[in-house]
């Protein structure tokens, strides 16, 4: 009896557990990520089946059954019975979807404008170039004038002529600067000063050298632009992706400065400014963009003198800028709130004025924190510009729709939409990846832990 009790209470080890399943190598990865249990395995198989269905449809519709050469939509249907895409139509309408009704022989101007803008922005990716802020500012502030001089053409008028000449001078000097940075390792101002022999003279005199050089460049540019003989292309026949990029480009470029001003106004201590900015932001954020666009095209002409009669594009751009600024203001305000109070106090203790405090201490930190949101609202703006098609501007979306209404392409609706979707996907995806890159590089030390 006692034996039994003892043997009952004595320590008896349980049999050892089997070793844990393999978690390394291909099998381990599969077990961990795909077949963790019965439910997991079913989900995995279901997921793979869904992917298979999508891929099968995409390949059959987009490649195997697709028609690549045809003259009308009817021909496409005769070949594939509507079971595949008609990419031939995209080929036929490609020019229209890119440039709208911009005359064929003048399209080089659009391309040239695009190339100039790209060249102007390339220094951002070149590590050895100094003064990137000035390069960026010069592009954002003056390219629109050079661009509109190129795109509109005709008789430029004195204002546009002067602004385009300034832009051209700056563009050339940016690239001189870039070349000098790489060849001689010195910036353009330094080179100019040393070449003219002002290097050992008083620093105050240096700016006259720069101004003189700019003046010479400006005069040359004025003369050069005076020789242009460009046929006038009114904004009413602009269209396609070009128009989409013009509207969203101006919207994006104006959003940040206006947004910063509005956000500062909303935090201002002066009641009139604060109330005005708050009302402005809240009003335009709480109504749909389409109502703002309608307002711009129906109401704005009522308030302007009859003789001004602005083109629709100008009114739409104003509406988009207002909308973009209101959204950006809230993003910037979020950033301003995220900067710790100590930073403001430290800047004031150093004796910095309000604008210096903002420009040197607060804004750089606030904007860095908000990079994902800022780029997010740029992307939102770019997508929202498609709404201009509703009020009859022939952007890429409306050009695609027009393709399906053409007599020989009747019914050609799905492919232009897919093509446009692909273009937007590429543009927005690139922007979002670039924002992640920015966040990792200049946003480092803040945000994500």
């Amino acid at each position: 009896m006692t034996d039994a009790t003892q043997s009952d209470t004595a320590f008896r080890p349980k049999p050892s557990l089997p070793p844990p399943p393999n978690t390394v190598g291909v099998i381990g990865w599969l077990r961990k990520n795909l077949f963790g249990g019965p439910v997991d395995a079913i989900l995995t198989l279901l997921g793979i089946y869904v992917v298979y269905l999508i891929l099968q449809f995409a390949v059959e519709y987009g490649i195997l059954n697709a028609v690549w050469t045809a003259d009308t939509y009817r021909e496409c249907l005769d070949i594939n019975k509507g079971e595949g895409a008609c990419w031939a139509g995209i080929g036929a309408w490609f020019n229209g979807m890119m440039y709208g009704r911009y005359p064929d022989e003048e399209q080089w101007r659009v391309n040239l404008g695009g190339i100039i803008l790209l060249l102007w922005l390339i220094p951002f990716w070149l590590p050895k170039v100094t003064g990137k802020i000035q390069v960026g500012m010069s592009a954002v502030l003056t390219f629109p004038f050079l661009g509109s001089a190129l795109f509109i053409g005709g008789d430029l008028g004195i204002f546009l002529h002067v602004m385009a000449a300034i832009a051209l001078t700056l563009f050339v000097s940016v690239w001189l600067h870039v070349t000098l940075c790489y060849v001689a390792g010195k910036s353009l101002p330094q080179t100019l000063v040393s070449v003219t022999g002002f290097a050992d003279k008083d620093d105050r005199l240096h700016k006259y050298v720069l101004m003189g050089a700019f003046g010479i460049g400006f005069v040359l540019a004025m003369i050069y632009i005076g020789t242009w003989e460009l046929q006038e292309v009114p904004t009413t026949i602009w269209g396609g992706l070009f128009l989409t990029l013009v509207i969203s480009g101006i919207g994006i470029a104006s959003a940040l400065p206006n947004g910063i001003l509005l956000a500062l106004g909303r935090r201002s201590k002066m009641p009139v400014i604060r109330v005005f900015c708050t009302a402005f932001i809240e009003l335009f954020r709480s109504v749909p963009l389409i109502t703002i666009l309608f307002m711009a095209v129906t109401m704005m002409p009522l308030f302007l003198p009859v003789e001004i009669n602005p083109p629709k594009l100008a009114m739409v751009i104003v509406a988009v800028c207002i909308f973009a600024a209101a959204y950006m203001a809230e993003t910037v305000r979020g950033g301003l709130q995220a900067v710790s109070k100590g930073q403001y106090e430290a800047a004031q203790a150093m004796g910095l004025s309000f604008w210096k405090m903002m420009a040197l201490i607060v804004m750089p930190q606030a904007l860095k924190l908000m990079i994902p949101n800022i780029v997010g609202s740029f992307m939102g703006l770019m997508k929202d510009t498609t709404l201009v098609s509703i009020i009859g501007l022939y952007d890429i979306l409306l050009m695609g729709k027009a393709a399906g209404q053409n007599p020989s392409w009747l019914g050609f609706h799905t492919e232009p939409l897919l093509f446009t979707a692909a273009i937007f996907f590429v543009l927005c995806f690139a922007m979002s990846k670039y924002s992640q890159h920015l966040e990792r590089t200049i946003g480092g030390g803040y945000g994500r832990r």
Binding site: T44, G47, V287, T291, F294, I390, K401, H413, F424
Partner: protein, 341 residues
Amino acid sequence: MSTGFDFLNSTAGFSIAWSIIDYEAGDTYFHVFLVGIANTLIVSFFAILATTLLGFVVGVMRLSSNFVIAKLASAYVEVMRNVPLLLHILFWFTLSSALPPPKQSLGWLDSFFLNNRGFYVPAPVPGDGFDIVIIMVLLGIVAAYGVTVWATKRQFATGQRFPAFWTGVGLIFGLPLLAFLALGAPLTFDYPALKGFNFQGGADVPRAFCALLFALVLYHTVFMAEAVRAGILSVSHGQTEASYSLGLKPSWTLRLVVIPQAMRAVVPPMISNWMNVVKNSSLAIAIGYPDLVAVFMQTSLNQSGHAIEIVAMVMLFYMTVSLTISAALNYYNKLVQIKER
């Protein structure tokens, strides 16, 4: 140019393709305004409901440990959010024109039909005494709220938990059900049936409504999913571990520790997403769904010419909706925020 709001009383000479409240050509412009508001609100309501539910599913899927499911969800998110909403709407509207004609409708249970004109469902026809059921629903909600308040008080006082949630569900659904059965089921349905070239009877929603709803849900689900994902990621893993070490079951941990903390980070983006759904429903104008912007800001404005008044009324409506949503949810947000110092 004439100004003033007198035009609201004059008759609008156009007809509206579909409306949730009764409308006939010849009703006043003010009636048109109401029709537009109702049409906008009904599509926004369903879109918000579906977006929120699906958003939670997709957001959790993106965090799944299952590789295929997680990648599928992130591919969905990337594709949907990088394509403009207007494109989504036009795309689904174009595709819906490829649905079969009424005679070959896609049917389900002989009472739901989908064809290239729209979606047909049975319409409920309330009989005598159905209003008592409705009153019971309201009573159930009040009772459930009372039980929740009492249960919280008792838990704070004694530490004992009361299954307030399930009691509430029982009250809200059980009470009306009992009343419904006791009154002899006073509800019949009017089934749609194919007569001639189209369906008669039942309730129908036009193709544009379906396409708009589908596109809004597909697009906005992505933003909801991202908010949910960020919310769950924002709860530190230490919280889960701590609650396990207190001996809480995983389901309790999720319900009492993780989700309440995640909701704090989810609610603010959710507010703005809901407001965006209401605002973006205005894109209906592109496919001819008669929402407020289409019937009032376009058709009525073109006919009456009262640009300033009409634009102001439409903007006022959207501002009211946005501010109401944001006020309600900001109140909720205030309740769940961490109370520091």
